[in-house]
Symmetry: C2
Subunit: 620 residues, 2 copies
């Protein structure tokens, strides 16, 4: 049953050797890893204009040089990341680069900031997509949390089905967005060249003259626009998802993504300036541009659909990256081990599930109002950029010293990464400074928390491994000790009988039985009947006034441990129904008892579960 | 740790013999069981007026006779339920009455409709309370689902702490509401008598004359007002919560509750009529009354707070009733057994938790917009009323025939219950008919679903009990079979060594080891090392291409079962960390394997968990 459901939802399991075939083509990879970065062009220009408009509409002209500066930054970052992709074809981005070149602390810092960025991206993208949907259909507004959850479940499901199938399905909307964006910008440009570009009616111009644009405002506008760069690093984390040769494909895709980003950003900013568009409360800047250029024709609605889809799909990029990063860290011991398990469809299912769970939780807690989270993004992203480039500088210098590659190429690489480091570090501080009180200050403790948690998990696993390793084990020749078997009895039925039988079969030095009762009469009855059935097995019945069972049982076992110095085995009969879904009707108490014994520190009681099967499949 | 947290949140556990002391005084019981019924007076009049206003404002005068009819119905129902309380001091209301007198089917029907009513009451009350809060503080609106969840958690927490403490805490707001309601109605009446009762400015009167008020409209208005009766039956379900003599206290409390209900309903309807109040979009009728009577003075806000509190607290009545009903049904086998477990604070914790979980889910799914659910209430409630009275008629006739009591009293009782049955049955059909398309049609399949689920659970438990009973067991003298012990190995460390040691200690006829690998090299390595360490225990290593482990292991065991006809024991080493909260870092795979073996139908493999303790508590 269970297996059939699994097959139905996930499709056929894939053998490990199919891993090569589950890679993405460059086209698919651009869609999977690029949707996050591309989606930010839908609002980056607006973020810049929103800061500038505070100084009056004339100040909006500053948006052009600011966008050019951001485009330059995109070029620098993309060039530096091309080097990352070549040097670290195994992927992992900042985590891997920093781990190899800078040590544990920077690697975990970088990984923490990326992970927080992924979680925010997934949640905010879904919420933004739902917000676009509910502006079009206000009657859906009450159900937006539910719709958001369904959206997350959909993306989760596609990703659980395997990298290739999610790549196939999700590349259509991304290319749809790319196409409609290129058409819009191209057509707008054509109308500009032919002098027919319409302008929006100029709003009532404030009488005040243009104020001097202060440096702080410029920096704020610049760092607001830097949201356009979020997601640019996604490719470097998932190089292994590309078809072989991985680095070549990844570098090529990175270049294409950067070119599209720059074209979209500059195109939109240019058109917005020429059309004298001012950010409005009730309509986005890109929507104003498209609506005006296409004179409200149906193609405008096609554009809106494209924007909606890309905002929604930006949530897919974290699904491509986060599970890979978590798996890499789990192999190094920084995450619970199950995150490194490759699922039946060759994806890291645990990471996909965890990301979905956290996003759903955030969505419920915030009630779907997550716009406040947007400024938080950029801080973590630029911290990651900066650490990556610093790691690459160390890497390049080592290569230079080792005289591994062509010297000229090495020097060129060192220069690129140094410029990248300088630029992204400066921008990191600008973003941190100008957005600190908008909420960026919240990011730092979150990064710290994750950082310390990862480090503790690693230390802990290390110690456990040391303790478990056979070399330190002196147990090999310990003689086996004499066994005391304790049968736990809940009710005098076949379970008790089978428990007694199994206990006797353990070849124990001694057998006894234990029963907890809440009412004296019931306990006396059990004792009487037991003594008739099994006169060779002594039974102890305890009255538990507080009806908590587990403390009574733990208490009993500690008193037994004081008296018996051999091995103690708790024999627990468990009812096994024919149909697994009936489990919830049985064994709730037995499971609690087993958990409690297992968790009791200092105790060495072993647990023997005896399955007692029932064949009943009742007919109504 | 765990136990400390428990003590902190729940307080000291109570011994079973404290059950008597955990009873409620009549005052507390009126608050706990009455809050649902009392809260409905906050909107019952409005529901009547909303139906009538469709015919023009003159039709509103029909509200007075309608309210009188409802008040009469309250008297009838309260009188009949006094008899229920006396005849069934063990509580359980319709379920118990119908089970004893009418048989299984009516009992389950009544219980199902009550349970659905409880779930709706809990969810809708919380949502209504939150709606009142967010109208006062619109900035909280985005967080209303979260606030609702916190509200449910608060009520859940108080109820988990024990009946008495929730009775103590929750009676203050209820009596506060009763007081402010009495003050408002009394002061309004005083102003009416002194001729100073203000009227609201009459709205623009439609020119049309009063239309003939059709029968259907009258019935609709009547059944809309019948929401005032919801919750009236609550006391009969929880008689056991009263201090001894239970029936006397319960009957007295029922009479007081009915008196308050009638006073509030008639008082509000009278004042609304005299003050010419018309239901408005943006303000409730009771709010209009209080605001006008108190001329917007601060006491009006006190009134609003009282209304808010009672709406919120109406959710507490289901918490008093549902767990008791579920426990009673669980003891009869209709619910999973754990619902009958009396928790450490002498409440049925499982029922409290289940009710909270379902309510939270409903709140999330509906996004907090649950006003549409209100018409669904009354159908289930009146079905319960009607079945109870029918059961009582059968009971009374039996008593009459048996000549148990005073004959005159018996006849009086039979008459009361017959009138009750006739009235509630008629009202049930009126409500069903007039609200059918408002959503009442949804209630019937839900009742049917619950009904069949309960019946199936009972049949299933019956069959299992029969199968497990010792009388049918022929196993007592079966000789114990020879054991094959299979050690499951995940990694070659102390766990494997202890597993082998334990397996040898079982005195088995044969021992072997099994390991699943994902990569051939790893498997070969394990095999080589194992053969050096334990040359007497043969090992089998299987390569699992699909990385699913459990199918491979199940497959292995079925092949073993074909070859070995004795007993098979799977020895599973489990890592036990020093601190229980570290569990999630370990054993995820081992637990999955155990579950799978346990659930494999047709297999008889027994499971032996070997705890391998690690002492590590790492320092950072």
């Amino acid at each position: 049953m269970r297996r059939l459901l699994r097959r139905f939802f996930l499709g056929k399991p894939l053998p490990t050797k199919a891993l090569r075939e589950e890679r993405l083509t460059n086209q698919q990879a651009l869609a999977v890893f690029g949707s996050d970065a591309l989606s930010s062009t839908a609002y980056a220009t607006e973020e810049i204009l929103l800061v500038l408009v505070g100084l009056g509409t004339l100040a909006l002209s500053a948006s052009l040089p600011i966008s050019l500066a951001i485009a330059g930054l995109v070029v620098i970052v993309a060039l530096s990341y091309r080097e990352v992709v070549h040097a670290y074809p195994q992927g992992g981005g900042v985590y891997n680069v920093a781990k190899t070149n800078l040590g544990e602390t920077p690697a975990l810092l970088g990984a923490s900031s990326l992970i927080i960025d992924y979680i925010l991206t997934a949640t905010v993208s879904i919420a933004a997509g739902v917000a676009a949907l509910t502006s079009a259909f206000p009657e859906l507004f009450p159900y937006r949390v539910l719709i958001g959850i369904l959206g997350i479940v959909l993306i989760m499901w596609m990703n659980l089905r395997g990298a290739r199938s999610s790549g196939q399905i999700f590349s259509y909307p991304t290319y749809f967005f790319i196409a409609i964006m290129l058409i819009t910008i191209g057509y707008g440009f054509l109308r500009f060249l032919t002098g027919t570009l319409p302008t929006t009616p100029p709003p009532v111009e404030s009488a005040e003259p243009l104020q001097a644009i202060g440096l702080f405002i410029l920096l704020r506008a610049f760092s607001a626009g830097c949201t356009a760069l979020t997601g640019l690093e996604a490719i470097s984390n998932g190089v292994k998802a590309f078809k072989s040769p991985e680095s070549v494909g990844a570098a090529k895709t990175m270049a294409r993504l950067a070119a599209l980003l720059i074209a979209f950003l500059l195109g939109i900013t240019f058109l917005a300036y020429q059309m004298k568009i001012v950010p409005a409360q009730d309509e986005t800047v890109v929507s104003q541009i498209a609506r005006t250029i296409f004179d409200n024709s149906p193609i405008y609605y096609v554009f809106q659909i494209g924007t909606f889809l890309i905002l929604f799909l930006a949530a897919n990029t974290p699904y491509a990256d986060f599970p890979r990063l978590a798996a890499m860290q789990a192999r190094d011991g920084y995450w619970p081990k199950q995150f490194s398990n490759l699922g039946s469809k060759l994806v890291f299912s645990q990471g996909i599930l965890a990301l979905s769970a956290v996003s759903i939780l955030l969505l419920i807690v915030s009630g779907g109002y997550v716009h406040a989270l947007i400024p938080l993004y950029a801080v973590g992203v630029f911290l990651g950029f900066s650490l990556t480039q610093l790691g690459m500088i160390v890497h390049d210098r080592r290569m230079l010293r080792a005289k591994m590659d062509d010297r000229r190429q090495n020097v060129r690489r060192l220069i690129i990464n140094s410029i990248g480091f300088a630029a992204t570090t400066v921008v990191f501080f600008i973003v941190l400074y100008s957005k600190f009180f908008d909420g960026a200050f919240l990011i730092l403790p979150m990064i710290a928390l994750l950082f310390f948690a990862m480090r503790r998990v690693r230390r802990y696993y290390n110690n456990v491994d040391k303790e478990l390793s056979i070399s330190t084990t002196q147990f090999l020749n310990v003689p086996s000790r004499s066994i005391l078997a304790v049968v736990l009895i809940s009710k005098l039925d076949r379970r008790a009988v089978e428990g007694a039988r199994v206990a006797r079969g353990l070849n124990p030095a001694s057998v006894c039985a234990f029963h907890v009762t809440f009412e004296k009469e019931e306990g006396d009855h059990v004792k009487d009947v037991w003594e008739v059935l099994f006169n060779d097995i002594p039974i102890e019945v305890r009255l538990d006034e507080f009806r908590e069972i587990t403390p009574t049982i733990l208490d009993y076992f500690s008193s037994v441990e004081r008296r018996w110095h051999g091995k103690i085995v708790a024999v627990v009969p468990m009812l096994v129904p024919q149909q697994p879904f009936r489990e919830f009707l049985h064994n709730q108490t037995a499971k609690r008892i087993i958990e409690a014994i297992r968790r009791q520190s200092g105790s060495n009681v072993e647990i023997y579960e005896v399955p007692v099967r029932v064949e009943t499949g009742e007919k109504v």
